[in-house]
Symmetry: C2
Subunit: 277 residues, 2 copies
């Protein structure tokens, strides 16, 4: 198996007749860490420093959920269906228990899996995410549009506006993160389709209407992290999540947005490795 995410082969698993693409690195045999991606993301959107950092001690598996990037099928329009697809993929790979690391939409999915399949999940890492009913979550369409407009006007990447603060350290962190995403030059994933993005936004808007009371039953140790000024999934939601989950630790990074874990990837990796130990 490759020792870096940059050069990890893209593999395919047949999940009930649908091909799901994934990449895996790190030592096998322990509890794998399964990554659940964000809105618009494919395999190529994970920060290689975070994946490599975790893979120094864990078997790490990233995959595209149904309909996303190189995976087949049609992206469902609810978080619950996305969670079912993710569980089917995890079971297809033969894992009896996993640690889930969900970012943003992936964090919604991780929460649903922990509720619906508690025995499948050992620990949870929830970043840039929110409980069901979370404040401001349903604005994501408008926030996306605004960022795309800004990016177009200034000839910059939308992620700079969506994931980072406009301060000097924020802009530097954005440039470094975007450069890291360019490190892989071969065997790239397919980008998401507009249909997938629409379906994901529908699922996210639906999350705002869902009921967070089930969180009280999630007893798995949980590590929550975010930047202190997230405009996609407002930071207050991380706090609310930590208050609702019985066994959650929270870490909030300064002068950082939705991509706070990318900006502070060194500290974050250290925190997660400590937490998973």
């Amino acid at each position: 198996m490759s020792t870096t995410f940059k050069t990890a082969a893209t593999k395919t698993a047949d999940v009930d007749g649908t091909p799901f693409v994934y990449r895996e690195i790190g030592p096998t045999g322990g509890i794998p860490v399964v990554l659940l991606h964000h809105l618009t993301a494919t395999l190529d959107d994970w920060d290689p420093r975070i994946v490599d950092g975790l893979a120094a001690h864990h078997h790490v598996v990233a995959f595209d959920n149904r309909g996303v990037g190189g995976s087949g099928g049609t992206t469902p329009t609810t978080v619950a269906d996305m969670a079912r697809d993710a569980v089917a993929f995890i079971e297809k790979l033969g894992f009896a228990q996993v640690d889930l690391f969900g970012f943003s939409l992936g964090g919604f999915i991780a929460q649903v899996i922990a509720e619906s399949n508690p025995n499948l999940v050992r620990k949870l890492v929830l970043t840039g995410t929110a409980p069901a009913g979370g404040e401001g979550v349903a604005n994501v369409g408008a926030v996306l549009q605004d960022a795309f407009a800004k990016a177009g006007e200034t000839n910059t990447h939308p992620k700079q506006h969506l994931f980072f603060t406009p301060s000097r350290p924020g802009l530097t962190a954005a440039a470094e993160f975007l450069a890291r995403l360019q490190e892989r030059t071969e065997g790239l994933d397919k980008p998401v389709s507009n249909e997938t993005i629409q379906a994901q936004i529908t699922a996210i808007v639906g999350w705002q209407e869902a009921d967070p009371s089930g969180l009280a039953a999630i007893t798995q140790p949980t590590f929550i992290a975010n930047g202190d000024r997230d405009i996609m999934v407002p930071t207050i939601n991380s706090f609310e999540l930590a208050r609702r989950l019985p066994n959650a630790q929270l870490s909030i990074f300064p002068d950082a947005g939705h991509g706070g874990i990318f900006q502070y990837h060194e500290i974050f990796v250290k925190q997660v490795l400590d937490f998973l130990r």
Copy 2:
């Protein structure tokens, strides 16, 4: 100098004619970490695991502020005056720059010092504390009374009720913390007087009326920590502090109260050592 807080000698500094008692351990020569104590606390109320943990890498100085425990003089009734007294003590010891570690009321004082004497402060550690105007801070008198009543009825220590959650892990952590405070058996500090407690409560109530806008000017790196269900200084204040301070990192511990840093002293010491490095 003693290598453990348990056996550290209690020394006295003459601060403008008033004797201030203090204890210090750890390697000298670097930036010292000065501890600012909580309501009712004396030198004997610091968790020896935290002081020893920090002193493995830092010169750590704990002291009783004016009128508290073995220190002379009368406890002032404002946080601003307490901050002036603390600065006078720090200058008396000849420190040109320090890291401040304030717990609860001590965290209020640390914020005022960082605002009034920015060059004196390199980094801030603020635990179980709140910005000026913080939610629920002025209820401290009622919360204290309630805890003392519960403690009397159940023949338990008030700190069990004030600092820890009533869950099984919370009760275990309370018992372990209270046992650690008993480790030192010689050269104990004098307890605080009722007059001191009254003056401190007056200062805390005044803090609720004070203006938090100056926090935006505190550019020092700050590490904020608390339990997720603090009944003395409600946890929401830690979040609010992190949002207002330009350069703050936040850590919230699960199933933990005002004494969350004592309950999670191993993780907390590690986090603070990383932060101060």
